[in-house]
């Protein structure tokens, strides 16, 4: 610090007319000399945090790189199950929301309140669109048994590769066969026969959009599903494809997974991926889901932070309702989870919830509704008391740090997706 800074000590709070300068600034913490110093420190701290975020994602990128480096064919085989057009649309959505966020920072610096609010709302909308497309992708993976762990059909090996646990199962089944039970290989053979009877999808083109998981079926194809007596998924739009993997959702009976394979994409099959390599495909989906899942979590956090800043930009008077809204929405969420557990749509139609599940469901529904009602009562008592508060935005040319910092976070989320998209969807 130079002498000049010491000479300008009147900057310090309390040494001058409070209205003359921003030492009066209510946002200035006592341990900072000036708002500029506070702003620079906040930004430095945010960048250090973003650095740790990069290091955290670095672990996943490292897993990806090592795995892809050692098994390039596995990635070439597995990535055709991802829809690159959905990935590309999501990239554009995130870039657009980055633009609106950067523009929101500009608006806050200039004190343009309406555009600040609208641009942050648009940014949050971009996050919703991103997560919506992502959920479509995840749902398709789930229905095609291309999820993680046991919910991935490649987990037990692909065509001939048998993990030890499966061999042990077969031994146990052989023993049990003496008592009349059906053996695992026999069941697998049966299911394979059955799968042949159902017309499979015609894999026509070499491009990834022709891969079975890529597209939901057209509405008209639902009629075919009615003729399929095996389909246990009432609302699965993909079930109409007659795809073997879609005959039965994986959570019904994992043991029968041997009969639920997707046909491999033809051009990859010709490339000669050996069977040991094929068995490693499920790890690709592990990498995919952990990378996109952690990124998706960051999208949710970023949206929440932007929503918080958006509320602050509306002023305390206008956002009094938002505070009780948080416990109210948590309560409603718990109640909805309870209702889902109680009725379990799509799992096993017609089967009632077990007594244990029903008890949990009842507790969740009651607790959730109690929390929601209490929150509404709180709002009724509390919101009117806030009527006298200011309705002005907290942000303007002299204070826009929160807008800037959540913007930085959102841009980092965008940057990480910029790398995830070509690495996962555009493998050549």
């Amino acid at each position: 610090m130079s002498n000049a800074a010491i000479i300008t000590a009147p900057e310090a709070p309390g040494n001058h007319d409070p209205h003359a300068a921003h030492a009066h600034d209510p946002h200035l913490a006592h341990h900072f000399d000036t708002p500029e110093q506070q702003y620079a420190s906040a930004k430095l701290g945010m960048w250090i945090f973003l650095g740790t975020e990069i290091l955290m994602f670095g672990g996943l990128f490292c897993a990806y790189s090592v795995y892809r480096h050692n098994h390039p064919d596995v990635f070439a085989f597995a990535h055709v199950y991802l829809d690159k057009w959905l990935g590309a649309i999501n990239t554009l959505v995130l870039i657009t929301s980055s633009l609106t966020m950067a523009w929101a920072v500009r608006s806050s610096q200039l004190g343009h309140q309406p555009s600040l609010r609208w641009l942050m709302a648009l940014t949050i909308l971009g996050g919703y669109i991103f997560l919506g497309i992502k959920s479509v992708e995840y749902t398709t993976k789930w229905h095609h048994v291309l999820f993680i762990g046991h919910h991935n059909q490649f987990r037990n090996g692909y065509e001939g590769v048998k993990p030890i646990e499966l061999e042990e199962k077969e031994k146990a089944a052989k023993l049990a066969n003496m008592e009349g039970a059906i053996s695992a290989p026999a069941r697998a053979a049966q299911e394979a026969e059955h799968a042949k009877a159902i017309p499979g999808p015609t894999v026509t083109a070499k491009t990834s959009e022709a891969a079975p998981p890529a597209e939901p079926a057209a509405p008209g194809e639902h009629a075919t599903k009615l003729n399929d007596p095996v389909s246990l998924v009432p609302d699965d739009p993909n079930a109409a494809n007659g795809d073997k993997a879609q005959i039965r959702p994986p959570f019904v009976d994992r043991a029968g997974m041997a009969g639920e394979k997707l046909p491999p994409p033809p051009e990859i099959e010709l490339s000669g991926l050996d069977k040991a390599e094929q068995a490693r495909i499920y790890t690709f989906f592990g990498v995919y889901f952990f990378m996109t899942g952690l990124h998706g979590l960051h999208v949710v956090i970023g949206m929440s932070l932007i929503a918080w800043v958006l509320l602050r930009s509306l002023g305390p008077k206008n956002t009094a309702w938002a505070v009780p809204l948080i416990p109210a929405s948590i309560g409603l969420f718990l109640a909805v989870v309870g209702i889902i557990i109680a009725f379990r749509p799509g799992a096993e139609p017609g089967s009632p919830a077990t007594p244990g599940e029903a008890a949990v469901a009842n507790k969740l529904i009651i607790a959730g509704l109690v929390i929601a009602v209490l929150s509404v009562l709180w709002a009724l008592l509390w919101v009117p008391r806030r009527r006298n508060l200011s309705g002005a935005s907290e942000f303007g040319p002299t204070y826009f740090t929160p807008v800037d910092l959540v913007g930085l976070y959102w841009h980092l989320v965008d940057m990480i997706w910029i790398f995830l998209f070509p690495l996962l969807y555009l493998i050549h």
Binding site: S2, N3, A4, A5, T8, E11, H16, A21, D33, P35, E36, Q37, A40, K43, L44, W47, G51, T52, I54, L55, G58, G59, F61, C62, S65, V66, H69, N70, A88, L92, I95, T96, S98, L99, A102, Q109, L110, H112, G160, V161, K162, P163, I164, E167, K275, A276, A279, P397, G407, L408, H411, L412, D414, M415, I418, F419, F421, P422, L426, H428
Partner: protein, 136 residues
Amino acid sequence: MSQAVHDSPNIHKYAAPSDTPMDLSVSHGSGSAHVHVTSPLLLLSVFAVLVTLTVITVAVTLVDMGQFNIWVALAVAVLKAGLVAFYFMHLRWDSPFNGIILIISLFFVALFIGISILDSKEYQHNYNRPGTTIVP
């Protein structure tokens, strides 16, 4: 930043809101906070370049360049991320220290990945997935 701002620190530090790009920087001798307002034209230009690069990176996958596909895709991604960091994240006008933190993070990630790949190459050739037997 003007000399006038230097000489009269007690005068309000910030220019009045206006619609033109401006440099709101101030200096106090003890570090300065450069507050730069990005112009809409610049924001839209960066956005247009980002969209173009996204289209390019998808289009490139339709061309088979062998092992160069991944490097082209990565180069485009680095370029896009750089644009986002430089303009949307204001690094161009920020204290250089913020940019250094970003570069240091990326350096350590690169070190991590590079050494891990080198290490995995040492044993990968005699590695088989545990618990698998290959049925002919």
